[in-house]
Amino acid sequence: MTEAAQTREERATALKGLGTARKRVEDVRFTQGKGNYVDDIKLDGMLFGDFVRSPYAHAKVLSINTEAATALPGVVAVLTAADLEPLGLHWMPTLAGDKQMVLADGKVLFQGQEVAFVIAEDRYIAADAVELVEVEYEEQPVIVDPFKALEPDAPVLREDIRDQLEGAHGPRKHNNHIFTWEQGDKAATEAVLAGADVVAEEMVYYHRTHPCPLETCGCVASMDKVNGKLTLYGTFQAPHAVRTVASLISGIAEHNIRVISPDIGGGFGNKVGVYPGYICSVVASIVTGKPVKWVEDRIENLTSTAFARDYWMKGKIAATKDGKITGLWCHTTADHGAFDACADPTKFPAGFMNICTGSYDIPTAYLSVDGVYTNKAPGGVAYRCSFRVTEAAYFIERMIEVLAIKLGMDAAELRRINFIRADQFPYQSALGWEYDSGNYHAAWEKAMKAVDYEGLRAEQAKRLEDFKAGKTRKLMGIGLTHFTEIVGAGPVKNCDILGLGMFDSCEIRIHPTGSAIARLGTISQGQGHATTFAQILASEIGIPADDITVEEGDTDTAPYGLGTYGSRSTPVAGAATAMAGRKIRAKAQMIAAYLLEVHDDDVEFDVDRFVVKGAPERFKTMKEIAFASYNQAIPGVEPGLEAVSYYDPPNMTYPFGAYVCVVDVDVDTGVTDIRQFYALDDCGTRINPMIIEGQVHGGLTEALAIAMGQEMAYDEIGNVKTATLMDFFWPSPFETPNYQTDWTTTPSPHHPIGAKGVGESPNVGGVPCFSNAVHDAFRPFGLTQTNMPHDHWRVWKVAHDLGLHG
């Protein structure tokens, strides 16, 4: 069939553009084991680094003896803080405006902290040498509880900033205090609470967990002393930011640093920050003149790299007696561990926690967050959520449930009464955000209908009757959640990391034969960018997605961007891709008009070509235009067909969703069985429904893990109790329920293609939904709040404390 004979629809289908369930192009290599991860990189003469780590959570380091280790054949060097100090690299800046020890400088502040770095000719010798480094410690009192950290006589953890009254985010009121962040109107909120018909109050704890990506963190640093260039391969979610930071801290000019993120096996926020391993590898490579590889093992990843959550959220919610919410108050005590290494935009030390009014029209609200140091690992990253959004969603979705109990109201109805209405968008929230678009009532009704909500409640009532009559030992819980996210950070006017504005970019080159390469400032870690960004472009420029290579992760070739986390790739880099595509199209239009010998305005874009208006038989395909751009001298038009766009988003995007979970709870064993999970997501324009479904499945499974078992647990002297996958819960297919996915589509009005991002929604909405289901099972017996994770013993304990064991 000739191109001309194809119908418009056939031509559109052939592009595999927006809305197509295109298979992931990445999977060809991944399913054959041909991915190229950091640990696959092998360079000539490469050395291996390994860390000596602190067994104690808080101790003075009295001495470090590296003699025996250095003497081991095959050991090249052992670095300690004393070696890094002359370079000014024994401490490094964190993304949150704090600083962090690279190697223990007289003191250790958490178990697993880096104390010395061994460099050896092979990985095994490095591990043996680690055992030979002798470190003398003097234990100090340990604080693992952020409330105790703030007691007047608490031991000072950070001697380096003792008595410093000003921190990176304003005044400090205690030596273990990092910042206080306040949003909203305190006085007005307190007045509303004082005069309200009903106030529900609760402490909602979102426990400490860890993103725990399948691939741990690591890097290969290679300093070429001949040309003065440093190449740094690593598991970086933000390669350009790493290059700039590396230049700033090492003093190596930025053009002499090339950062490459190869294939990354999951990040979930864990690979945003800068870790001591990177600094030590770079220094080791500079010192030895050889490439140095450092890759963590699982225990190191869990115990020393960025954790997530650990928010104690005290809430008060006020309402009229018929359930109209009038005010929300929240005070959060945030456990940041030993150093403030959150990866948040600079002006947001508690991330976007101020999205905690959720999907509801709450006229008055106040939020304050106290960041606190403890003897735990640093971090506080966005584990598959935009900055602190999952904490905010958990908080509000628990508070709604608590309020429903207090009002004696159905929780679905309470939500319905309070949703922001479709006609209120763009909606200005009491805590300062402008929600771009939404239709919460429509999504909610669709969800309630899909699960037969009334039917579920009737079944639950019957089950309760049977339980009380001794016919069953299983209770049934129905978990509800309507979440609103805030993603796509973000507008340069208020979002930056270390002073770098959070725009993103795309550069497109169309080849003479009509295929293309697009390079972006983001980096996929499993999201499928090579698949979806090609689809955005296919629809914009009429070149089939299969003919477009998408490349990311090499700072020497990709345009500058802030990387992939916080569901920002589609909202920001996806927008840049569309905008760059539009520049290509504009130039293509001029070329087409020239070739067709008509005025620019007399041609119009039609799927994969420009046609003369009113004469569709006269056209030039994008393929023809591409070739012409390389071989024709067109007056007033430069040769070639390339474009670049740097996109500064005007606003965040606000994806939302309605989730329902049904659980059976065995009160005698604490075993829970998630027998139904319905997830409706509205992520605006849907680029690739198959990828969306995959993202939702993955995110829900992480949410299941967090809600039902996953935690970073510490004992009272700061030992990590969950340092391996035996104890750190990773669900297998057996624990993973079936998911029913669904959607509505409310495009973002300000995004070029209306897309909002979906990667993190299921984690944000899933956690409260699983948790609410467990809570709901016990609601008839008086439970209002119990802490996650809802593993067997904790669920059993709830039943026990409620007297259900007779």
Binding site: G709, W730, S732
Partner: protein, 277 residues
């Protein structure tokens, strides 16, 4: 997660393996499937200087079933136990229990010999073997002997096996016709050890119970068996409950485990009784 330095040996007979053990004594460990030993070596909790791999020792393989006795080679994998239909019809509780160990990947390589010899209170097979009143054939430089499973376990990771002995076979008398069985296990996820597990055999005049991961060794009590044999379920449960001493850990506090042990045991007994005739 990198083990220390060790020498690797690969004997092909029991005699050769026993000779190596005698020669290196304390510094040597035998390696079966490696799914308990290698993780311990990677954590450097175990640092053997000599690793004696048993995988080429043909005498340690195979399952033989006679009219009254079953003999299982120490190197038979958990997967092979599950696949063996004759074994499943002779002693069905073995398949039921093996299916609840770890995950398929672990079961492809993990062996019954390693499982019972390790002395890990979390392992499922030791309790099961006590329930079945199995005995272990062991061989050393000085010859062979048999040790009853019920007398084998002395403490966590301490057994009656001498340093220079190898466990060669596991011998089980066929359970009496008409008896019912059940292996009930609660764990946090696939791939986890038991929070509590119960092995039960019950039938006319017969009763045997063993519990896993509720003390330093498997829990087996003569009193419980007698009570169960008489049909006194409460008496049996009470006797077991008096014998367990679970430790608090990430699976939950001791208080929870005690309660759970009773629930699991009653469910196992009920299921086993339902299968008896």
């Amino acid at each position: 997660m990198i083990p220390g330095v060790f020498e690797y040996h690969r004997p092909s007979t029991i005699t050769e393996a026993a000779g190596l053990l005698t020669r290196f004594g304390d510094d040597a460990r035998v390696l079966a499937g490696g799914h308990s030993l290698i993780p311990m070596m990677k954590l450097r909790v175990a640092n053997p200087e000599h690793l004696i791999d048993l995988q080429d020792v043909g005498e340690l393989k195979g399952v033989s079933i006679t009219s009254d006795e079953i003999s299982i080679g120490a190197m038979v994998t958990q997967h092979e136990l599950i696949q063996n239909d004759a074994l499943a019809s002779a002693v069905p509780i073995i398949r039921e229990a093996a299916l609840q160990i770890a995950d398929p990947q672990v079961r492809y390589v993990g062996t019954i010999g390693g499982n019972v010899a390790n002395g890990d209170p979390g392992n499922d097979m030791p309790g099961l073997m006590q329930c079945l009143d199995a005995s272990y054939e062991v061989a050393g430089d000085k010859g062979t002997r048999r040790i009853a499973a019920r007398e084998f376990y002395e403490g966590a990771f301490f057994t009656a096996l001498a340093d220079d002995e190898i466990l060669t076979r596991i011998v089980i008398a066929k359970p009496q016709a008409g008896s019912g069985y059940a292996y009930e296990k609660q764990k946090r996820k696939i791939g986890d050890y038991a929070t509590a597990a119960a092995a039960v055999i019950v039938g006319p005049g017969i009763g045997s119970i063993a519990m896993t991961n509720l003390g330093d060794t498997p829990i087996w009590s003569a009193g419980a068996n007698d009570a169960l044999a008489k049909g006194d379920v409460d008496g049996a449960v009470n006797a077991v409950m008096a014998a367990i001493s679970p430790a608090s850990d990430n699976r939950g506090p001791a208080e929870f485990k005690k309660h759970l042990a009773g629930v699991i045991l009653r469910r196992a007994i009920e299921r086993a009784q339902g299968r008896a005739n």
